[in-house]
């Protein structure tokens, strides 16, 4: 009995050490990303400006048509891709390193450090789960460390899938540090118990998908914000304005606004069915545990509001007058609802879900 308690104690301490170590490594990664951005600032890039200001003469697409003489070797036909109606034909930025070799090196170092920190943090979460002998989301401290681990996991998965997302790194790691900082200072709770209503495999399904959805929505929200900046930058250039030095250096290196917009749409749309499922899993669990599948409990209500807000966003994109920036504002509003459901409802509102303390 005492032996078991000691093991648990040791595991809890190990978890804390790992979380602090992860924070240290994330901090190193953060500085490496910063260095990448700084080095990247040395290179002079102005592709967007070039693309937007040379538009007086609209360019023909680069079509390579077989016109060779009577050579025997023939190339296979190439597909020419054109931008959609009304979309700007702007190339994507080169990423934070801005094409600078040294910057790129630091970027790679940053990603490697992120991987390392992720593994350490994952270890911390697992040790915490082992020490309390249940899933690591019984209170907000555990929820926070799990959430940031999953968010970084989503980012690294996208990178592993060879998606162009390295530009997300700095923004993601900054907020991960913030999230962990709040977790260890304000929210830290020693291991505690779960009430029996929490024992159900629907809980595991419901909460784990909720965390995953939140992490993906978060990635979507970051790229939406960057889209808004990049879009006003492009608008300014297109209307002949002259953005500031910093804005130019910084925004120039991000993907084109159309790419950012598409990326955030894809991310949000891809996870929306999972969010729908999360709510339904929650309803099934509530049906089993509380005898009603829907009761307008504050947590339920905000999950519903978040769902409707994302549905609004998806609708908006199908409605001509609401595309682009307006839809982006809706996406941010929807993510705000998600955040409020996570933090606000736990802190400000009491309901059946506020069982585990803050």
């Amino acid at each position: 009995m005492t032996l078991a308690a000691a093991t648990n104690e040791n595991l809890a301490n190990l978890s804390n050490t790992l979380i602090y170590s992860a924070m240290a490594v994330y901090t190193l990664a953060f500085f490496a990303y910063i260095t990448e951005w700084i080095f990247g600032g040395r290179s002079k890039i102005g592709r967007t400006a070039a693309a937007l200001t040379s538009r007086t003469e609209t360019k023909a697409p680069d079509v390579t048509v077989q016109k060779g003489g009577s050579t025997a070797v023939l190339e296979r036909p190439k597909v020419v891709v054109r931008a959609a109606a009304g979309a700007r034909d702007v190339p994507d930025g080169p990423g934070a390193h801005g094409g600078d070799a040294q910057g790129d090196l630091y970027g790679r170092v940053a990603v490697s450090l992120t991987v390392l920190a992720f593994l350490i943090e994952l270890g911390g979460v697992v040790a915490r789960a082992a020490s309390v002998e249940r899933a690591p989301w019984g209170n907000m401290y555990e929820f926070n460390i799990t959430f940031s681990t999953v968010a970084v996991g989503v980012y690294l998965t996208l990178l592993a899938l060879k998606k162009n997302v390295r530009w997300l790194g700095l923004f993601l790691i900054t907020t991960v540090l913030l999230d962990l900082g709040i977790a260890v200072t304000v929210l830290y709770t020693a291991s505690d118990q779960l009430v029996p209503a929490l024992h159900s495999y629907w809980l595991y399904i419901h909460v784990s998908t909720a965390i995953l959805c939140g992490a993906v929505f978060y990635v979507g929200a970051v790229s939406t914000i960057l889209y808004l900046f990049r879009d006003s930058y492009e608008n300014k250039l297109a209307s002949g304005g002259k953005p500031g030095q910093f804005a130019t250096s910084f925004l120039e290196r991000l993907p084109a606004s159309a790419s950012l917009d598409k990326f955030s749409y894809r991310v949000n749309a891809a996870v929306f069915p999972l969010w729908t499922f999360t709510i339904i899993a929650g309803a099934i669990w509530a049906g089993d545990a509380w005898g009603r599948y829907w009761g307008w409990d504050p947590k339920e209500t905000w999950a519903f509001i978040t769902w409707v807000a994302y549905a609004c966003y998806l609708h908006a994109r199908a409605t001509a007058g609401w595309k682009g920036r307006k839809a982006a504002y809706l996406a941010l509003l929807a993510f705000g609802c998600w955040l409020f459901n996570y933090y606000g409802v736990n802190i400000f509102v009491s309901g059946k879900h506020s069982y585990a303390g803050v």
């Binding site: 016109k67 036909p77 109606a85 009304g86 307008w296 519903f304 509001i305 409707v308 920036r325």
Partner: protein, 572 residues
């Protein structure tokens, strides 16, 4: 259009003509119409109103309103969930309470204005789905539109020259596209093909599933019932309204809807973690029941656990709480038993420190032979650890101690004012005093007896039973709601992940007698998949109609066109 539109060429109309109907009917989304006010009469207005209501813009607005409208209900106490909090709020802020009352803010989700929003949304949804379904059926009956005149304007395009005959190329293209499960047909000098109709099916299925879900939910709200019953081990319950401790039901529920059944609580078992950081955490909570369905149903045995209700007909029996019920025997001065019963006590914390009251209402006469009532304030620790008198140290019955405070007089139960069974109204009660003249209060272990002073009788703590609280609910339509929800997820996935796209393959003889093949693709939304798939198809077709060497200088059709700033039809 939004600000993102830049430099759209002035020849957009020319573009449209070039594309013809190639991009038409690629979805069933309603066309955006600007609200220009009709000058017609009542019918004109009605039609205008209907068209507005079923437009995407208004659907969007109503959805926004719905989410905004749901917010106050999560911040203001709701009478449906917590009546006492509402009462507290009202007494703390009387004026604000009145305003909230007028606005229905204490029951947002059944208020007039909230209902108005979702009913409008509902009507909008139906008004939108029906024409879209017809339109889609029409699209399925018809064929994909023919190739646009200038295919270079489409978002994905490729071309090559071949020595194969145009007919051969078209035939090969038709066979290829059909094999790839496109709906394809020959239209003039080109093959027109379309794929991904499941996107539309998914979208319609999703919206229809929403209707089913909402209807099932509303149905459930109207016909639901919910009641609670506390049962001590050895006691039973039969499903009639009078047996419930409390009972709530929807507006259209009638007593005849109660499923006929009864049950008997044989045994309640709770086991708890005995060590580690989770010491005291319940590991199992289960109630062993004997139940029978219908008037003459045969007895069956079952186990009900916290997340595993017993289902009988449409009703579900949930185990929601448990506690202890000490068995108490009270005797009068002559030794006659005047009270003998298990008394359920209310748990106060997670270690089941409990409190309650024992009320002896009739049959007791005091030492002088005068009728009186007896009351005992009970405080119970299932695991008493010496030194800690105020809280139990573990939830199981390891060392139970019952603390009793004795009173006599008038319990006030006949005053007509409803009284909690767990509390004593001490206003007309007198304390029994011990030999030192203090309030009589004793700790009892099972089997022990406390004597009341002056031959007033005695009270014995015989043993401990457990009680379980059962919530019995009936919510018809939940099967439909679940079915709707699952359909909605699949429909949504189909709608979001499937691309609806068209491919055209034109093969004609050029001026020099060599066949020119042109291929183009168009998606419902701009996506990297469309050009990828087109390249793939072109590669296969190219193998069947290999490239031909050309005269230098001969230009392929249309590609040199320089004002190629935009292509119509690709949205998103």
């Amino acid at each position: 259009m939004s600000k993102t539109t830049t430099g759209a060429p002035a020849d957009a109309t020319a573009d449209d003509q070039d594309l013809g109907t190639a991009g038409s009917q690629l979805s069933t989304a309603p066309k955006e119409e600007l609200p220009n006010l009709p000058s017609l009469g009542v019918i004109g207005w009605a039609r205008w109103f209907w068209r507005q209501l079923t437009s995407m813009r208004v659907a969007l607005l109503l959805l926004l309103l719905l989410s905004l409208g749901a917010i106050p209900g999560s911040l203001i106490p709701q009478s449906g969930t917590d009546e006492t909090k509402v009462a507290d709020f009202r007494s703390a802020n009387p004026t604000l309470g009145d305003v909230y009352d007028k606005l229905g803010l204490f029951h947002v989700y059944s208020s007039v204005w909230f209902s108005a929003i979702y009913i409008l949304l509902f009507v909008s949804l139906i008004g939108c789905i029906v024409p879209r379904t017809w339109q889609f059926v029409g699209q399925l009956r018809g064929r994909p539109p023919g190739a646009p005149r200038r295919m270079t304007r489409l978002p994905a395009y490729t071309t090559w020259r071949t020595e194969a005959e145009p007919e051969q190329v078209r035939e090969a293209a038709l066979a290829l596209l059909k094999k790839r499960r496109f709906r394809a047909h020959l239209a003039g000098d080109a093959v027109a093909a379309e794929k991904g109709y499941l996107r539309e099916v998914g979208n319609l299925a999703f919206h229809i599933a929403l209707i089913v879900l909402l209807t099932a939910f509303a149905w459930g709200q109207l016909f639901k019932m919910e009641g609670n019953k506390l049962v001590v081990e050895g006691d039973g319950f039969s499903n009639t309204i009078t047996q419930y401790d409390d009972f709530k039901s929807g507006n259209l529920f009638s007593q005849d809807d109660l499923d006929p059944f009864s049950f008997h609580l044989d045994d309640f078992t709770g086991t708890y973690e005995t060590s580690g950081p989770n010491k005291g955490t319940p590991r199992t909570y289960q109630a062993a029941l004997d139940y029978s369905v219908g008037a003459y149903g045969k007895d069956r045995k079952t186990i009900v656990k916290v997340n595993e209700p017993l289902e009988i007909g449409d009703s579900k029996v949930y185990l929601t709480a448990h506690g202890y019920a000490p068995v108490i025997t009270v005797r009068d001065g002559k030794g006659n038993v005047v009270y003998s019963q298990a008394v359920p006590l209310l748990p106060l914390d997670s270690n089941v420190t409990s409190s309650g009251a024992i009320k002896v209402m009739d049959g007791y006469r005091n030492a002088k032979g005068v009728r009186e009532q007896l009351g005992f304030q009970a405080f119970f620790l299932p695991s008493y650890v010496p030194g800690n008198e105020v809280a139990s140290q573990f939830p199981a019955l390891t060392n139970p101690v019952l603390n009793l405070e004795a009173y006599h007089g008038d319990l006030g139960v006949d005053s007509g004012i409803p009284q909690s069974v767990y509390q004593l109204d001490k206003s007309h009660l007198k304390e029994f005093k011990n030999s030192k003249g203090e309030q009589l209060r004793e700790n009892l272990k099972p089997g022990e007896t406390m004597q009341l002073p002056g031959g007033a009788g005695s009270v014995t703590y015989e043993a401990t039973k457990e009680w379980a609280n059962f919530q019995i609910t009936r919510q018809p339509g939940s099967g439909w709601a679940l079915g709707g929800a699952i359909t909605a997820i699949f429909g949504l996935a189909g709608s979001l992940f499937i691309q609806r796209r068209r491919v055209w393959v034109r093969a004609v003889k050029g001026d020099d007698g060599v066949t020119v093949v042109e291929m183009a693709g168009l998606g419902r939304s701009e996506s990297a998949k469309v050009p990828e798939e087109l390249g793939d198809l072109a590669g296969i077709l190219y193998d069947q109609a290999p490239g031909a060497p050309t005269d230098t200088g001969a230009e392929s059709d249309g590609v040199s066109d320089s004002d190629a700033a935009s292509a119509e039809g690709a949205e998103n």
